[in-house]
């Protein structure tokens, strides 16, 4: 069973007056089949955790370890991490002008699967996955993320999740900016992948809204660069009622 283990992770970014530490000792273990929600106020370092796991060059790991089934993730390049089974659904995916969605998906699937998918089954696979996410087939001929609405970008991210079938999926604020209908469609997509039991999900969110559609096994409160409290789904209910205030204060004095 695939396991992602994060131990005492420290991460800094380059700021105007030298490096600034954002993650201050994160410990977390995510196993295949589990869903963990990471919730926290703005600026607590949730997205930094997501991008650090994916290997974004802006973030420097200054301490700690990340392993996937015992393999050192931090030693891998960005593409190696993806091929090892890590997937990051981004909050703000970038435009890639001149590269069509269909070309992009096929290039990614070829890289992650290690061989080009057979054309006939591939076309069918993409078509069906798009239909499930209520995406117009014409979408495949558009350039990646170019002129996409917020909802289209998120559907496109989840489409990749369904096609690339990672071992560990990190969803960075996938719910932000979505109306209720889009949130439902996107959540159903995530749930289809979860139901296979083959993915461990790290759901990063500011709001409890998405947890009505995607039920987590574990909820962690993120504050001031580390996990401040962990619990079951009931912790989300507490956050819904009380907000992050007690954690923000706690974080400030820590």
């Amino acid at each position: 069973m695939a396991t992602l283990e994060i131990h005492d992770l420290h991460v800094s970014v380059e700021a105007e007056n030298g490096p600034r530490e954002i993650l201050r000792g994160v410990d977390l273990t995510v196993k295949q089949g589990e869903t963990h929600a990471i919730m926290g106020p703005n600026g607590s370092g949730k997205s930094t955790l997501a991008y650090s796991l994916a290997g974004h060059p802006k973030y420097t790991v200054t301490g700690g370890t990340v392993t996937l089934d015992g393999e050192d993730v931090l030693a891998m390049s960005v593409d190696e991490r993806a091929r090892a089974g890590l997937f990051l659904a981004m909050q703000y995916p970038v435009e890639v002008p001149g590269v069509s969605v269909s070309n992009f998906l096929r290039t990614s699937a070829t890289a992650v699967r290690g061989e080009a998918p057979k054309l006939r089954t591939w076309v069918k696979e993409v078509k069906e996955a798009m239909a499930r996410l209520q995406m117009d087939p014409a979408f495949a001929e558009r350039n990646v993320n170019e002129g996409f609405s917020g909802g289209e970008k998120k559907r496109h991210e989840i489409l990749q999740l369904e096609l690339l079938k990672p071992k560990i999926a990190v969803l960075d604020e996938t719910d932000s900016g979505l109306d209720v209908d889009a949130l439902r469609v996107v959540s159903e997509g995530v749930n289809r992948v979860r139901e296979t039991g083959e993915v461990g999900t790290l759901l990063i969110t500011h709001y409890t809204r998405i947890l009505r559609y995607i039920k987590p096994d574990h909820v962690h409160v993120f504050a001031a660069g580390r996990i401040a409290e962990s619990g079951g789904p009931e912790l989300a209910d507490k956050l819904e009622a009380e907000g992050y205030e007690s954690y923000v204060k706690g974080g400030a004095s820590a």
Binding site: H56, P57, R83, T107, S108
Partner: protein, 407 residues
């Protein structure tokens, strides 16, 4: 990633918008309009068929300051002697007349005068001209192919493409081999005619090519030019557009891939002197390697008479390595406020690391991701050509260029 990631060392980007007087004769108000210099220095520049009217450039003139004169092989100072060695072969579908004519053929030179000494030298020196004509109302079934192949010589050439009223044609002009070539190319479009011209500079690395392309666009005619420059040691092209009557439309697209030591210069001029005409310019280049130098000059003039003009020009450059240099200078001179629109944009940037990260986070190796992004950068432009066969061929050339150079 530093904050200045989009500002490669050694690139310059400059632009100017000059505003003259409004149609009603009242000066346009607003900051930046209080200029004292003449607004149209370029309008009054020399234009002549005779090389003797141009002084030998020394390199500091506005139109020569980016060009390495020592690499022009004497085209600019009268020392280049014609030796022949450049073959021109025309393949044309039914409905096209191809002729080789003498210098004094009255059809030559109507599209405009040479505007620099090299073009005037070519005009003063060519012996025979090639004339490709499409009679009025003729719609061609396939493209006309003009193959210009250099076999190591020096030549002065002249080509006229004439498309009669309401005729439609596609002309592909291919430059291959090695040569020192100075040329004038004329496109004359009758009323309501449609002409698409694709000029591909796929020269060997030693070639020197300087040419002026003049288009004269008839009433309600549509002219589309696609200039694609990959090869050569020095390529300097001057696509120019004028309108013979109202309602004309010109689309000028360009693509260049400038490698180690290459000098690629594209100097565009759109002269809006006629009302209700449109122009759209989009040139994109990628540069890689030590001494790669691309120059893009986009001059758009909207003269007082040209009410209802709609124009836009864009230049984008992607710098893939250190040691490359881009000079990008859009100029917009406006003498009337009674226009539909006028705009310009120029941007020169490094490779976008966020695009690279996005593709790599989907398992795509760095090298392949870079190729995909550069290919996409050009594909976006090629998608606008509107002729699938030409698009595919050019994209295949881009792929070959990327395969050889982007690692």
């Amino acid at each position: 990633m530093a904050a200045d990631v989009n500002t490669p060392a050694g690139s310059t980007t400059a632009g100017s918008v000059q505003v003259g007087t409004a149609g009603a004769g009242a000066p346009l108000a607003g900051p930046g309009t209080g200029r004292t210099q003449p607004i149209d220095a370029r309008v009054s520049a020399i234009a002549s068929y005779d090389v003797a009217d141009f002084p030998v450039p020394h390199g500091r003139e506005e139109e020569w300051r980016f060009t390495p004169l020592e690499r022009l092989r004497g085209l600019h100072d009268g020392t280049a002697a014609a030796t022949g060695g450049v073959k021109v072969a025309v393949e044309a579908p039914e409905g096209v007349t191809v002729e080789t004519v003498d210098r004094d053929d009255p059809r030559l030179g109507r599209s405009g005068k040479p505007v620099d000494r090299v073009a005037a030298q070519a005009y003063s020196s060519f012996e025979k001209a090639t004339v490709v004509s499409v009679a009025k109302d003729t719609v061609l079934t396939g493209p006309v192919r003009v193959a210009v192949h250099g076999e190591g010589g020096t030549a002065f050439a002249h080509l006229l493409v004439e498309v009669g009223a309401f005729a439609e044609a596609v002309v592909v002009l291919d430059h291959t081999g090695g040569a020192v070539l100075a040329a004038n190319v004329e496109y004359v479009l009758g009323d309501g005619a449609k002409l698409t011209v694709v000029s591909v500079q796929d020269w060997d690395d030693t070639a020197v090519h300087a040419a002026q392309h003049n288009a004269l666009v008839g009433r309600d005619a549509k002219f589309k030019s696609v200039v694609v420059t990959f090869g050569g040691d020095l390529v300097r092209l001057q696509p120019r557009v004028r309108y013979a009557a109202p309602g004309g439309e010109a689309e000028l697209y360009g693509l260049y891939f400038t490698d180690d030591g290459q000098h690629h210069e594209h100097r565009l001029t759109v002269d809006h002197d006629t009302p209700h005409c449109r122009s759209n310019v989009a040139y994109k280049g990628a540069l890689q390697g030590e001494g790669a130098h691309a120059v893009w000059i986009g001059d758009v003039l909207i003269r007082a008479a040209a009410e209802g003009t709609d124009t836009y020009e864009l230049n984008r450059n992607l710098v893939l390595s250190d040691g490359a240099r881009v000079d990008s200078v859009p100029n917009l001179e406006i003498e009337t406020g009674e226009i539909v629109g006028a705009g310009h944009a120029s941007a020169t940037g490094r490779f976008d690391d966020e695009q690279l990260f996005y593709l790599m986070s989907r398992g795509v190796p760095a090298e392949e991701a870079r190729r995909l992004v550069v290919r996409g950068f050009f594909a976006e432009l090629l998608q606008q050509i509107g002729i699938p066969e030409v698009e595919e061929r050019l994209l295949a050339k881009v792929d070959a260029e990327l395969e050889a150079s982007v690692a």
